[in-house]
Symmetry: C2
Subunit: 419 residues, 2 copies
């Protein structure tokens, strides 16, 4: 049984072009495995009447409503007041939230002003949801058989309370959610996966599959149809998962939602190995993606941005005649870049990317989107040639993801996927 | 006079966690300079009743409604049908759109199937809006004094029709839009700018100011109050702009919406200069940001990712005893990194970042968020020390932006902002 929720996002900044509203995507993703689906999202400005109107309409349609934003200390933060007015309940100061806020401001060396203190107020009767990432607590409000969750607007605070309080509470309600499973695939496109799973009738009946494709990684969702008994649904889902594993093999890189970079980091940590990079057309994007991850210093050494051709020669020892003969975007240049990065950085693996990201620089022989990716270890280097069909940003993104997958497959001990 | 518009975004993928809805931000930004404001955004799934319901409610509140998504060739693309049903108008095939689609599919070597052809249908009486980025045309529908724009969901197609047809049409309606101006500031926080412009009563009366802060750059919007005559409003706005320029000086880096990296690229191109980088805690993010820009090979040389300390020694020639004595996160190490990157890459400028991004690695003396940024040229190096208060991602972003601004100010020929 799928149950419907709605989101009411508040904030002028979401409508005037200042901020991107990411709550709908985050919430949609988080609710899915629990058997809830987001049926509608409404964004309104910081206006009491507009907020109350949108929440009232949402409550008329569904039993679970999320309200985000407008819990800060400034005058345009009016969500608390809007909800109190609409529900005809006073706002009360939550002692625990106030105490947490006092500690927070003391640590930061900031004063507890009356406007800051006002953030500790919640709608009377609501449960305060502690906020480890910010000042204002969230709230869970029960009203006429409906549940309202009120959460802060800043994405990290929204996410913290969602993870700490909302999702556990929803999971504990249980009952009726069809079992679901998410896993991640790399090195195969959506159509390849469809063919292996759907066209080949690999999955048992009653199991539905959905795809969320991003450059170089594919999230796959399995769920069972509602008319199955709970035990039967679980058995089918487990069977489907085992069959998907058999059909997709090493292309499955995680049995939960996870980026390819996170998977590579995990493999490197487990293996106790290190990596260095040499980047041309990606200009630092591979290094940036790897060092986005906390603790990357244990397995990331560093590397070279050899964007200009002379630097491929001067920094990475690619011979001038090789560059002249083969061109900077070529198999042997990629190979040499990876080998030198590995050696000069003292890493176990060297990972190199050289290509034509576009929009300019393509020729008939070497078109925009042509990229060579090389992985070097103590035994030599392996090179993959790829031709991506996208624009500059997409080609760079694909290049990074393909490089990460090359390393992932090597670390997983399987023969590398070439193509 | 500010006029209100609403957006109804359709698409299951915007609610189930697959796609991020960027239309509200794009539209909010595009409408603002024309004197329109987005008053509400509603996202609904691909469901005729839900779409009609949301559009009906939006039309009851405002005179301009945008509907996005659901114009493709598959069965779950139902926006055309939902609007036709609700308006009680038939769908008719638009000859020009069909012809453009035929050409498009012929070029791509794809067949014109009946389902693809169905994309040429528009609501009877609507104006078809040619789509240079995709198959389905947009539509402009006049209904009971309201205007509906129906646009495709893919962001590039949405943007193309917005730019080609929607914004010109809105601009031509003219009449009553208060003149507005956007400009960009770096090196000053919002509170500093507020002090210089607002607390000092720098701006003429009748001019309102709004801020959109992002890490390291600030977008500022000026507009005049509605009760002024058009000529008077324009005069005040021009006066305000001149006064803001005087008060903020070199901190203004663009007189239009533009990123700091774009401004730096423009300055480098104009000056005919090149830059190289040496990155520690940002791990490639500075290089990636610069090479995001097409044509960066004319002014970006490359650089070093010296993440591990040995690489600061081995690749960048930072003496071991200096690293030992001062630590990797220090003024002299940043200086040496910038100088070596410049020299070894043969660039006019060397830009280096070394810091503690977090969450781990901080000490009492060198806390998380402490960053040294150095800029070297032929005359030596200048170092800026900064302490950012954010999480890992934010500290890295701030570091890159501060580095870019250091270079921007140097290129603009002014003394560098230190702080």
């Amino acid at each position: 049984v799928t149950r419907a929720a709605e989101l009411v996002a508040t904030g002028e900044e979401l409508l005037n072009g200042k901020s991107l509203n990411t709550h709908a995507r985050e919430l949609g993703r988080a609710l899915w495995p629990l058997g809830w689906e987001l049926a509608r999202e409404t964004t309104v400005p910081d206006d009491r009447a507009a907020i109350a109107d949108a929440v009232r309409q949402a409550c008329a349609r569904v039993g679970l409503v999320f309200v985000t934003g407008g819990l800060g200390p400034t005058e345009d933060d009016v969500t608390r007041e809007a909800l109190g007015d609409w529900l005809r309940r006073p706002l009360v100061e939550d002692a625990a939230a106030l105490e947490a806020m006092r500690r927070r401001y003391r640590t930061a060396g900031r004063e507890m002003t009356p406007s800051r203190r006002s953030q500790a107020r919640i709608v009377a009767g609501a449960a305060a949801l502690p906020n480890r990432a910010g000042a204002a607590p969230g709230q869970r409000i029960a009203w006429e058989g409906k549940t309202l969750f009120v959460l802060p607007g800043p994405p990290n605070e929204f996410r913290a309370i969602l993870d700490d309080h909302v999702l556990p509470w929803l999971a504990a309600q249980g009952g009726g959610a069809a079992p679901r499973r998410i896993f991640m695939v790399a090195g195969l496109g959506e159509s390849d996966v469809r063919e292996r799973l759907e066209a080949a009738h690999t999955l048992p009946p009653g199991v539905a599959i959905a795809y969320c494709a991003a450059p170089g990684q594919l999230e796959i969702r399995l769920r069972t149809a509602a008319e199955l008994s709970d035990a039967e649904a679980r058995a089918r889902l487990e069977q489907a998962w085992q069959q998907a594993r058999a059909a997709l093999g090493k292309h499955i890189y995680a049995a939960e939602r996870r980026s390819l970079a996170e998977a590579v980091a995990q493999e490197l940590r487990t293996a106790g190995k290190t990596v260095a990079v040499a980047e041309s057309c990606t200009g630092g994007l591979l290094g940036a993606r790897l060092t986005d991850l906390p603790g990357s210093s244990t397995w990331f050494r560093g590397g070279f941005l050899a964007y200009a051709n002379e630097l491929k020669e001067n920094l990475l020892g690619v011979p001038a005649d090789l560059l002249e003969r083969e061109g900077a975007v070529s198999d042997p240049v990629a190979r040499r870049m990876a080998e030198t990065a590995r050696a000069r950085c003292g890493a176990d693996y060297g990972l190199a990317i050289t290509g034509i990201a576009g929009p300019d620089g393509g020729t008939a022989e070497k078109p925009v989107g042509l990229v060579f990716i090389a992985l070097a270890d103590a035994n030599g280097a392996e090179v993959v040639r790829a031709h991506f069909p996208g624009d500059r940003a997409t080609n760079r993104e694909w290049s990074v993801q393909r490089a990460l997958d090359l390393l992932r497959v090597r670390l997983a001990g399987a023969p590398a996927a070439v193509g």
